[in-house]
């Protein structure tokens, strides 16, 4: 083909990133400490993670970006890819490796997904970087469990703990949903679905165990095919279960793994059935994708308190947030804030640029009350002792809390 000047113009946009590659990398000062967050910033979780990152930034701003002798630099990293619309192991691995190789990185806030945590935990553990997840709730990440005997030791190759989380775990959240069905809704027959992912399958199992303990009839626990665009035939099958349709369906999964479509198809096919979903669906995107008629039909459990129910420092946080960003924070904003506060408090206490010391300080957090969710501690596994759960329904396109339950209260026999 004949050479045309036009082709140079076509190449031009691709050349820019390479030539301008180093205009952004201004040299850091020696007393800089970097806090990295690794959250799905692309795809349908973006709305949720936007408010988490805002929460983290607010915490750092409260210190004016300086803690002790150190300047705090925050890096907002994405562990999702546009092509998949949700987190990918490749992106999460890249973020973890980048954190390990950057000697200034002391704290890793994230990830959002439990599956992503399983990927990055061993990498960061070897380097001794502390992780504080504001959202990953799978039980096996920190506790021994029956499903996988190797957990959680496989995530701790160095033998030391480095993973903490400011949200309660799924072995509490699953049974809470069962309790709500049995005690509040007074329903008897449930059908369990899960998305075949680390988080969804795990929490569905915890739910099933909890439901059986409470004497509910479990009609089935089935994996859905998340690649599928609709679940009409699955719902037809569930509707025709032996003994009639179930009173309730539990879906262990997230908005990204088609939670909205499950809700939509259930509402259409079973008029007397309710759906319970875990915190992976506790975001506006879930309501947007689920469509109309959700009122009184869909309930969401969430390991924490709804922004509207927070008191004291939490209320102040929500007000400041609204003032600064002109929108209501999503549920996890306060947990992003809390995670960053824990990190900053540990750095302040240690006042050294030392991964190990900061990691130990974070794991040793006891009776922490500088954040927005009250006073709590990390236990010997790195899990929070704050265990209030909120169950919300959906009204006029918003989550409205209907019940708060304490995860540790023993279930009624």
């Amino acid at each position: 083909m004949r050479f045309r000047w036009f082709h140079i113009l076509l190449v031009f946009p691709f050349a820019i990133p390479f030539s301008a590659g180093c205009s952004g990398c201004n040299k850091r000062e020696a007393n800089t400490i970097v806090i990295v967050s690794s959250l799905p910033r692309t795809g349908s979780a973006k709305g949720q993670t936007d408010t988490m990152v805002n929460g983290i930034k607010m915490a750092i701003d409260e210190y004016d970006g300086k803690v002790g002798d150190f300047k705090i630099l925050f890096q907002d990293k994405d562990d999702a890819e546009a092509s998949s619309g949700q987190w990918t192991a490749a992106a999460e691995t890249a973020n973890a490796n980048a954190a390990v190789n950057d000697k200034d990185v002391m704290v890793y806030i994230g990830p959002y997904n439990s599956g992503a945590a399983a990927v990055s935990m061993p990498i960061l553990n070897k380097a001794g970087i502390a992780m504080i997840s504001p959202a990953a709730t799978a039980t096996g990440l920190t506790k021994k469990n029956a499903d996988n005997k190797d957990e959680p030791d496989i995530y701790r190759p160095s033998g030391k703990l480095n993973f903490t989380r400011v949200v309660p775990t799924d072995d509490l959240q699953g049974p809470i949903a069962a309790r709500f069905i049995a005690e509040e809704l007074k329903k008897k027959r449930v059908y369990v679905l899960n998305d075949n992912e680390r988080y969804g399958e795990g929490i569905a199992k915890e739910f099933e165990a909890g439901a059986r303990k409470l004497g509910l009839t479990v009609l089935g626990n089935e994996k859905i095919n998340v690649a599928q665009q609709e679940f009409g035939s699955l719902m037809t099958k569930i509707k025709n279960s032996e003994g009639g349709p179930p009173d309730a369906i539990y879906f262990g999964g997230t908005t990204q793994s088609k939670g909205g479509q499950v809700a939509k198809d259930m509402i259409k096919s079973m008029p007397n059935c309710v759906l319970l979903v875990p915190d992976g669906c506790y975001e506006k995107a879930f309501i947007d994708s689920a469509g109309a008629g959700l009122e009184g039909r869909v309930f969401v459990t969430f390991g924490g308190q709804d922004p509207t129910r927070l008191t004291g420092a939490g209320k102040t946080f929500v007000e400041k947030y609204k003032e600064k960003y002109k929108t209501d924070p999503e549920a996890y904003a306060v947990y992003g804030y809390e995670a960053a506060k824990v990190a900053l408090a540990a750095i302040k206490k240690v006042n050294k640029k030392d991964r190990d010391a900061i990691r130990e300080a974070i794991l040793g957090t006891k009776n922490f009350s500088e954040g927005a969710i009250g006073t709590w501690s990390f236990d010997e596994n790195g899990d929070t002792t704050a265990q209030i759960f909120t169950i919300s329904e959906i009204k006029n396109g918003n989550f409205v809390p209907v019940k708060e339950l304490n995860g540790l209260k023993p279930s009624a026999p």
Binding site: T42, G43, S44, K46, G47, A82, S83, G85, N196, E222, K223, I224, N225, A227, Q228, Q229, E230, F231, G232, S233, L234, T236, K237, N240, S241, E242, G244, T255, G260, Q261, K264, K268, A285, D288, S289, A290, G291, A292, G293, G397
Partner: protein, 319 residues
């Protein structure tokens, strides 16, 4: 193993799944026709076709949102009927137009290149369309019902104890006449004759005075038109759209086209329906996550025994 026609509930299940399979199958068939028509004429697997379907769904959503902002709240009834009719008129033309533009800009300059070149370009076009979709509807899935309930969730009628929903009826009422129309177009019109001639031998058709480029452009238009139509009825039935929906639906449709014998019009319809039934019964009688394994298992077995698909004929060796 399968209580196919047992009494009571499971008998009901069978018939409900049958209806569901028929509806999903017709949708797959509509999209599959787009693959098959284009392949039949220029032997190009247009990988961007599924994403064109996604753009159609996005257009459906946007137009519905526009209509709602003009007319206020829309509930099933007279006004929603008018909107559905409007969608069925506009969106297919939009998709057909986009497909023609894609052919003119991307595929036509590559007509003389080795066959792999347009194939790879089709993948490129697919990425471009996905990203347009992402900019258009955003990264999060959206629901048409949040704008307007255009088609009621209620049942139109019951056959025995099996409800036929309005949403299923809309799909079948649209799809069946279109397929008859397409068959008529290809079999009995001048344009159809020109299309068949071009498919048989492009050079010979050109020598006979057929405007080959125009015929190819028309084929792209028809393929796009069907994808647009599928997008409208799909969005009315399923309701949730997202920028990635083109991939899975495109993959199913492409599989349907191959099962039926790619390049063959009745084959695409047959393949689509067969796939719809496997999809529906697979989801109903086995675990949901086995559906894809079943579909592609059938594809493999079929290709072993009939490499050209159900109705396909052997492509002539090109010298």
């Amino acid at each position: 193993m399968l209580p196919l026609l047992a009494d009571g509930n499971s008998g009901n299940l069978f018939w409900e799944l049958l209806v569901n399979g028929l509806v999903m199958g017709s949708l797959f068939a509509l999209i599959a026709l787009g693959y098959s028509l284009v392949y039949g004429i220029i032997e190009l697997v247009n990988f961007a076709h599924g994403d064109l379907f996604m753009l159609g769904a996005a257009m459906t959503y946007t137009l519905t949102a526009l209509a709602v902002s003009w007319f206020g709240v829309v509930t099933p009834g007279g006004m929603s009927f008018a909107i559905v009719l409007g969608l069925l008129l506009i969106v297919p033309f939009f998709c057909g137009g986009v497909n023609v533009v894609i052919d003119r800009v991307v595929y036509r300059p590559l007509r003389q290149s080795p066959r792999l070149v347009p194939l790879v370009s089709a993948l490129g076009v697919s990425f471009v369309l996905v990203n347009i979709g992402q900019l258009w509807i955003g990264t999060a899935p959206v629901s048409l019902e949040n704008k307007a309930q255009l088609v009621s969730d209620a049942s139109l009628t019951q056959i025995g104890e099996v409800p036929i929903k309005w949403k299923d009826a809309v799909v079948l009422i649209t799809v069946v006449p279109v397929m008859i129309g397409l068959t008529w177009l290809v079999k009995f019109t001048r344009m159809g004759k020109a299309m068949r001639a071009t498919a048989q031998n492009l050079v010979a058709a050109q020598l006979m005075g057929i405007g080959v480029q125009r015929v190819i452009a028309s084929t792209f238009f028809i393929g796009g038109y069907l994808a647009g139509l599928a997008a409208v009825v799909y969005t009315l039935k399923i309701g949730r759209i997202e920028y990635q929906m083109g991939f899975q639906n495109g993959l199913y449709a492409f599989t349907a086209a191959i099962v039926g014998g790619i390049g063959n019009i009745p084959g695409a319809v047959l393949g689509g329906l067969l796939l719809g039934f496997i999809y529906s019964f697979g989801g109903g009688y086995s675990q949901g996550n086995w559906v894809d394994a079943l579909i592609f298992g059938v594809l493999i077995v079929l290709l072993i025994f009939r490499p050209t698909g159900l109705l396909g004929s052997r492509t002539r060796e090109k010298v």
